[in-house]
Symmetry: C2
Subunit: 200 residues, 2 copies
């Protein structure tokens, strides 16, 4: 039997297959799509990969991804520099920015403490956060890690390190999601929503 | 509000988003994966795209994808050159090769006749097939387009063009898939399986 696929095609399928959530069949479909692209567009795709990998790095202040030394949020003159919102992932920054309700700065931890996955505090950008708070300009740190066991534990861990620095540490409110349906809310969320109820 | 994503990252997300079946969220996930790759591996990925797009083209005989002038199947000395299996897509060739039961040659149409999608016979590699059969070396052409309305119509269309050339034209058998469950078989398949029943 002859080799099933020409080597360059097989190599491209293999590359797509390494991507998270992409199986063999999808990788093949993507590879065939690339073969059908005009040559210039395939080159643009390749260039976008190399360019992003080379130019994107962490902001020297907040550790969010950026292509400049200091990211646009940290560089903006009109942001409230006394509040830092601590998130796990750069995509969480985007989620907050979409609300248009937050005007402070961010700090991206790049993960959560997760002993099961071999991630300890030293792999996260915690010391960079402590250094920022230590500079004395910060009034409040909002812990906005995900409402998971690991996110919770990380928030607790970081807040314990922050408290001696004489800064207010807060956590996002738990409760029922807006537009959600009470009958589908899980018990823990509902208990938290009760616990955190507000005066009308 | 500052721009949500640095331009090189946004461009990479955009490129992934153009791929079939990849939405915004998946494109972001893939882009972040690429950012986490060692730089050499990101470059290998990019090179695989460019290389595949540049080197892969259609076999001058069977129109299957290959990086040589004539594909390994057409070039193989031990294949039966008197039988041609006509398929829609290069991936169908791989499916037949995996059976290890077929020793003839292939012809890849690169699509099916589909007026709804604006694909007429002239966009398919039909004249290349006719030319091969015209050369007089072929005994049988197996129409192995998909068992869909378009695949069916294309098989009929091509077989009408082939018959005057004095060649046997056959079609894959319809029936119940091996390992399938009769109670889940659709009526059309089951009727075809009855119709095509064989003596035990």
């Amino acid at each position: 039997m002859a080799a099933l696929q020409a080597a360059p095609l097989a190599r491209l399928v293999e590359q797509f297959e390494r991507l998270p959530g992409i199986g063999r069949k999808t990788a093949q479909r993507l590879a065939f799509f690339v073969l059908d692209l005009p040559e210039g567009e395939a080159e643009q795709f390749a260039a976008a990969i190399v360019e992003a990998r080379q130019k994107i790095h962490c902001c020297s202040v907040c550790q969010n991804l950026t292509d400049s030394d200091v990211c646009p949020v940290c560089a903006a003159a009109d942001r409230d520099r006394r509040t830092i919102c601590v998130v796990e992932d750069p995509r969480d920054v985007e989620a907050f920015e979409r609300t248009r309700d937050y005007n402070g700065l961010y700090h991206v931890l790049h993960g959560v403490i997760s002993p099961m996955d071999g991630v300890g505090p030293e792999q996260l950008r915690i010391k960079e956060l402590l250094a920022r708070v230590n500079n004395g300009e910060v009034d409040e740190v909002i812990m906005a890690t995900n409402p998971t066991v690991e996110g919770e534990a990380t928030a607790m861990y970081v807040s314990r390190l922050l408290k001696p620095l004489n800064v207010k540490v807060t956590r996002l409110a738990y409760g029922i999601p807006v537009g959600g349906d009470l009958q589908y809310a899980d018990e823990v969320t509902l208990s938290r929503a009760l616990e955190g109820r507000n005066l009308l």
